[in-house]
């Protein structure tokens, strides 16, 4: 007895296809709301929902496929790079994908810098991206290390109170070996400066407005490295106020300083 058999077949086929179809079409619209997209991206990044970060990155890539220029196009490219940089910290992202995503992030930011060479946000993020590429492939340190240092120094020179430039500068100082100029004390100073800059900036700053969570976490790691467990704990708890779902902080960083 057949009854509704192939009606259901059509419905299922249709549902899946249309869903893919329509989501693709919708997300390709050039007038899609970039602000909503980056807001969702940041929320997903803080919550550790890496699949949503990936999804946002692909949505941004689709957006970049539409002919556009000027600040908005640069902001789209910056956001693609930011999503890619966030993705590579997730263990679920295969190594091969990490390489491609980081390479693409660097390329996107270099595109931004071609038209806006003094874009502090792009300079800072590119420094962070190159830093991660070195961490993933130490052999790149010979070439990308100096580049990363120059990028972040330039960013901090151009905008001494940019909180992300300061935080990434601190990260660079923390991760660079002392024989190459790294310093835990300098890192701590830069993270604290970044957090003061975030305070001044306020919570409602426009995109790019990420980094407050990271500054607390990185400062916490710096303090932990110095043996200040209570200070580290306090910073991690502040980070959890911003991202209560961060498993990394709750289950890895905090237990290590208890």
């Amino acid at each position: 007895m057949r009854i509704t058999a192939l009606i259901v077949a059509a419905l299922v086929t249709g549902a899946m296809t249309a869903s893919e179809d329509m989501s693709g079409a919708r997300q390709q619209k050039p007038d899609a709301d970039l602000a909503t997209l980056v807001s969702a991206l940041e929320a997903s990044a803080l919550a550790g929902r890496i699949e949503d970060v990936k999804r946002a990155r692909v949505d941004l890539l689709r957006m970049s496929a539409a002919p556009a220029s000027g600040p908005r196009a640069s902001l789209v490219r910056y956001s693609i790079a930011y999503a890619g940089w966030r993705m590579v910290f997730a263990p679920s992202v295969p190594d091969a994908e990490q390489v491609l995503v980081l390479e693409d992030a660097a390329m996107q930011l270099n595109e931004v810098l071609k038209t806006q060479p003094n874009d502090v946000e792009a300079l800072s993020l590119l420094a962070a991206v190159q830093g991660v590429r070195i961490a993933k492939s130490p052999e790149l340190g010979m070439t990308l290390g100096p580049e990363s240092d120059q990028l972040i120094e330039r960013a901090m020179r151009l905008a001494p109170s940019n909180p992300r430039a300061l935080a990434i500068g601190g990260q660079s100082a923390l991760n660079t070996p002392p024989e190459y100029g790294g310093s835990v004390s300098r890192a701590e100073g830069l993270f604290r400066a970044a957090l003061r800059a975030f305070e001044k900036q306020g919570a409602q700053a426009v995109w790019p407005n990420w980094g407050r969570f990271d500054a607390h976490v990185w400062l916490g790691q710096t303090l932990a490295q110095k043996g200040d467990k209570a200070g580290a704990r306090a910073e991690y708890e502040k980070a959890l106020v911003i991202a209560p779902e961060s498993a990394w902080v709750k289950f890895t960083l905090l237990p290590a300083v208890r």
């Binding site: 007895m1 057949r2 009854i3 509704t4 058999a5 192939l6 009606i7 259901v8 077949a9 059509a10 419905l11 299922v12 086929t13 249709g14 549902a15 899946m16 296809t17 249309a18 869903s19 893919e20 179809d21 329509m22 989501s23 693709g24 079409a25 919708r26 997300q27 390709q28 909503t36 969702a40 929320a43 919550a47 550790g48 699949e51 990936k54 999804r55 990155r57 692909v58 890539l61 689709r62 970049s64 496929a65 002919p67 295969p94 091969a96 994908e97 491609l100 390479e103 693409d104 390329m107 996107q108 595109e111 209560p244 779902e245 961060s246 498993a247 990394w248 709750k250 289950f251």
Partner: protein, 711 residues
Amino acid sequence: MTSAQAPSVSGRTVDDTGRPLPGVVITVRGTTTIAVSADDGRFTIAPAPQGSRLVFEMPGFAMREVAITTTESLQIVLSVANVTSNLTVRAPAVSAPPDTRIVLRPIDIVRTAGAEADLMRAVAATPGIVRVDEGAGLFVRGGDVSETRVMLNGIAINHPYRHETPTGGFRGAVDPFLTQGVSFSTGGFSAEYPNALSGVLDLQLQERPAALQATATAGLAGAAASAAVPLGSQAGFRLGINKTTTGLLFAVNDAPREFDELPHGWDGSGSVHVDSRRFGSIRGFVLEQRDGVGVRLEQDSFDGFLHSSTSHRLVVVDWRTQIGGRWTASAAGGLDRYTNGTDVGVLVVDVTDTDHSARFDLAGLAHDFRIRAGVDAGRSSAQLLGTVPTRGGDFGGTSGTSLFEVVHRDERAGGYVETSRDVGRITPTVGVRVDRFDNAGVWRVDPRLNLSIKVARNSSIRLAWGRYSQAPSSRYFDQARGDTSLQPMSATHAIVGFEQGRITDAWFVRAEAYYKAYRRLPVDDGAGGFSDQGYGYARGIDVFARRVWRFIDVRASVSYLDTRRRWTSPEQRARYVLPDGTWTPDFSVPLSWQIFVTAPVWRTVSISAAWRHADGRPFTPATGAVPTPAGFEPIWGGINSERVPAYRRADLSVSHTRTFGRTMLVVFGAIDNLTGRTNFFEYAYSPDFSVRRPVASASPRSLYIGCSIIR
């Protein structure tokens, strides 16, 4: 950033079943050159010189990189990144231990030729399932259909079939369209599943709609419409209605049986979804169904019409949230209400079944241990009133009639805990279930062990052992004649298996050998009731393989089964004089094998074909008859001592998809039982039982066509 003069590359993106993938982002590696695949999966990207590399990205699919070495059109297959995590809704952080589960997406169900887009029929095409008729019943590895538990988001569905029969029913009650996929376990399954003796079919409802969508469909057997409506970024609802009328279908094809009331019915469903960062995800789902049929039935020497009218309501509410990123908490509650009136010959029975169930689960990580734990409870109320033949199946009433009265209420409450940890190449999983069966007044403690040993990069061996308990069906608790103190049935599973690859890979093979020992099965006590003194065993081997070659997807399976038991189904009460020891049950089919092929034959045309073979099912022959004032009473030979001829069937289905802007048209067609072979599963007899004849196949060769519009 494309240029008409620059070297370009064209192609098509498809998923691993050959279906077009729109919206895929294609970039030339290291450049800003980018393209997005169109509705039919086609793309053109330029400039893309020879030697450069293309990167393909799509949410939910693994990223893929391809070198440009040809000027010919490319066919790019993207594989789902992680099917299991998409489907394991209740506990994404910690999945169930590896078992014999097969995961099917709706697209797999639709593309299983001969499954008629029915969820149960598609599942029945997987290894370990015995085919006893043309219905959709899931008889798992020597177990009765009632021993397979069907769950919807963790809530038990006690009537998972439409047009129910003693062997299950003709179709599944839940439309695959309502689910995001199913997973099916045929043994050694997790301690999280309660009250299941042989198999578990775990259905997961669709998630909150992400885009507005409407669908209308018409075919030879009826019409359907559905809508998915997002409400902002955190809520949405789905609605669907389906009307079945078979007049046109049976005008085009010969009716498989004679009807005095054509099969008809409708169902409506709705779901509401709310996702909140603070409170988690909440979903409510309602399904309402009505069915009716009047069909000619031949059984023993009876030849008459069966009339049945059914109403079914299913309500499920579930909630899920993450706790700190490492733990997931979920809860679900549900109602399953089923009413049916059936009259056939002297049998006239009205049924009302009401089942409530609820559960709470936690899954997460503690140090290196994956932990799952939960509690669940169910309450079932059954009321069956009517008149039945004294001898089971004697609808002519030669043996007389008796009152049938079941007013049965049972409650079960239980809990489980399960933990696993990777120890090098070995992953042991240890679990235990504890259940209280209220009607029997007993506790059951069921330990379950699972050991997965990775023997190579892509291969593993699995060892599993576990004990399983299930309350007997309410149909055994006839107050007029039956025993009312049956203990929960029990089964012990032991499994050894080998697996190479993953089911989503281009090559996958799984082989399993199993042994199951049954205890406390209900069996006719010879005094009109049942005792729980039944027992039995089932042992066998299942092999399943899948190969995807270019865009051709081939799946094949073979199953060997040896089973015997001392057991009586409720419908066969007082039908036979029972011998000592065990006998072959109705669902003992020693060898069955099947092969399924899906292939795109043209850009927008896909074809699926299937071939199934199974040894004939056993039956009990009538060796003579004794005249009585009311007619002839049969003299039965050995229970299930003969077999009907082997079952063989070929099926073919084709679909054609066209896109017009944002509107999609799907035209589909199918031929069931392509060769027109007359399969049959039972015999009917002349009034004096001197002549027997095969009962006509429920599935003659038939054609079906229809179309669907989606926007």
